[in-house]
C-alpha cells in the first residue's frame, strides 16, 4: 500500500525534474534564435541609416552561426543539452503548423512532383552509397545505414534503420556523424550554388528538400534562400520522409533473409510504425486551412508560430553541430557519404531543372 501511494508521487517528481531540466537549454535556444533575428534587423537598419552596403544576412544564418560558434569554441555545458535536444520537437511542430500556409491543391501538385523525383533519388542514393561503400571496404551494415541516411532523412532514418537491421551502435554513430557533417556543408553550399545559377524559389526549395538529408538542415537551407523556398523545401523533405518505412523495410527484409536481423512480422504494422506522423498533421492542417475553417488572421498567426518554432530549430541545429565530434568519428564513412552526397546533389539538381522545364514549378 505504501508503494502504491508513493510510486505516483515519485514519477510525478521525476516528470517535473525532467521538465525542469529542459529549461536552461530552451532558454539558450530562444536567446540564440532571437539574437539571430535581432542581428538581421540590426544589420539592415545600420545599412539604411549609414548608407553602407552591408550583406543582407538572414536570421536563419545568424542563429545557426551563433550556435556553431558557441558549440565549437567554448562548448555547451551539459546542463543545456536536454533543452537543446528539443529542437527536433520544434521542427516537427513548425512543420505541422506550416500546413496552414499551404492550400491542399499546392500540396498535391508539389507533393506529387516531389514524390516522383524522390523515387528516382532513392534509387540513385542507395545505389551510389552501396557501390562506393564496397569500394571503400566499409562494413555491410554501415553501408546500409549510410544508404538509408543519405536516401531519406538522415538521423531519424538511421536511428530507425539501426533497430530494424540490428546494426552496431558504432556504425550508427559513424553514419549519423557523416550525414550531419554533410548536411552542415550543404546548408551553406546549396544556397550559394542556387544563387550562382539563378534558380527560382520553387526550384531551390524542391532541390533542398530532395538533396539535404537532415530535415532541420533542409528547412534551414530553404529558409536561407527565401521564405517561399523554405515552404517548398519542407514539403519536398516531408514527402521524402514519408518513404522512410518502405526503405527501412527493404533493408530489414534483406538482412532478415540472411539471418542477420530479426524477422519483420506484419509489414503493414512495420510501415505504420515507421511512418512520420507529423506529415499527417501537416496534411490535416492544410485541409482545414483549404476548407476555410480557419480565419485569415488566425492563418497568419499559425504561420508566424511556425516561424518561431523554426527559429528555435535553427538555433538547435547550430548548437548540435560539433565538428570536433565529427572529426573523432573517422574519415572513411565521411568520404563515402561525401561522394554519395555529391552524386545525389548533381542528380537531384538535374531532376529539378528537368522537371521545371517540362512541367513548370
Amino acid at each position: 500500500m505504501t508503494t502504491d501511494t508513493v510510486a505516483p508521487a515519485a514519477s510525478g517528481n521525476d516528470l517535473a525534474a525532467r521538465a525542469a531540466a529542459l529549461i536552461p537549454g530552451l532558454l539558450l535556444l530562444a536567446a540564440i534564435g532571437y539574437a539571430g533575428k535581432l542581428a538581421e534587423t540590426g544589420v539592415k537598419q545600420l545599412a539604411e541609416s549609414t548608407g553602407w552596403s552591408l550583406p543582407n544576412i538572414e536570421y536563419v544564418l545568424w542563429a545557426i552561426l551563433l550556435g556553431l560558434i558557441i558549440t565549437n569554441t567554448v562548448g555547451v555545458h551539459r546542463i543545456f543539452r536536454p533543452g537543446i535536444a528539443t529542437y527536433e520537437f520544434w521542427l516537427k511542430l513548425g512543420i505541422v503548423l506550416l500546413g496552414a500556409r499551404f492550400l491542399l491543391g499546392d500540396v498535391l501538385k508539389l507533393g506529387g512532383v516531389s514524390l516522383a523525383l524522390v523515387v528516382i533519388e532513392l534509387f540513385v542514393a542507395i545505389g551510389v552509397v552501396v557501390l562506393i561503400g564496397r569500394w571503400f571496404k566499409l562494413g555491410p551494415k554501415l553501408i546500409s545505414l549510410l544508404a538509408i541516411g543519405s536516401s531519406i532523412c538522415g538521423v531519424s532514418a538511421i536511428t530507425a534503420g539501426k533497430g530494424a537491421i540490428d546494426a552496431d551502435d558504432e556504425d550508427a554513430s559513424f553514419a549519423i556523424a557523416a550525414i550531419l557533417a554533410l548536411g552542415a556543408f550543404g546548408l551553406f553550399a546549396y544556397p550559394a550554388i542556387a544563387h550562382l545559377i539563378g534558380m527560382s524559389t520553387h526550384e531551390f526549395g524542391l532541390w533542398a528538400g530532395l538533396a539535404v538529408d537532415n530535415t532541420a538542415e533542409a528547412t534551414a537551407a530553404g529558409a536561407l534562400y527565401s521564405d517561399e523556398a523554405a515552404k517548398v523545401a519542407v514539403l519536398a523533405k516531408s514527402t521524402r520522409n514519408a518513404t522512410i518505412g518502405f526503405v527501412v523495410l527493404g533493408f530489414a527484409l534483406f538482412w532478415a533473409a540472411r539471418g542477420q536481423a530479426r524477422a519483420v512480422g506484419s509489414r503493414t504494422r512495420f510501415l505504420w510504425a515507421k511512418f512520420p506522423k507529423f506529415v499527417l498533421g501537416f496534411l490535416a492542417v492544410s485541409v482545414l486551412a483549404t476548407a476555410g475553417l480557419i480565419a485569415k488572421a488566425d492563418l497568419t498567426s499559425l504561420g508566424n508560430l511556425s516561424r518561431w518554432a523554426f527559429l528555435l530549430t535553427f538555433a538547435g541545429v547550430g548548437l548540435s553541430t560539433d565538428f570536433r565530434a565529427i572529426r573523432r568519428q573517422g574519415l572513411r564513412p565521411f568520404a563515402v557519404g561525401a561522394l554519395a552526397e555529391v552524386t545525389v546533389t548533381v542528380v537531384t539538381l538535374g531532376l529539378v531543372v528537368a522537371a521545371s522545364a517540362w512541367i513548370g514549378l
Binding site: F89, L93, G163, K277, A297, L302
Partner: protein
C-alpha cells in the same frame, strides 16, 4: 583525471552512443500540441502572433 578531461570523456561517450529511437513519440507529441493550437485558432481563442 581532471574535471575537464572527465567532461571530455563523458562528451565522447555521449557522441559514440547514438540516441534512442524517440521519433514516433516526438511525432505524436508535436501533432498533439499543434492540434491544441489549431483548435484554439478555429474557435477564435488563439491570440494574434506577430513575427
Amino acid at each position: 583525471m581532471t574535471e575537464a578531461a572527465a567532461e571530455e570523456a563523458a562528451q565522447e561517450r555521449a557522441t559514440a552512443a547514438p540516441r534512442p529511437e524517440r521519433t514516433p513519440v516526438l511525432d505524436w507529441v508535436a501533432v498533439g500540441v499543434a492540434a491544441v493550437i489549431v483548435v484554439a485558432a478555429i474557435t477564435g481563442l488563439l491570440p494574434e502572433v506577430s513575427w
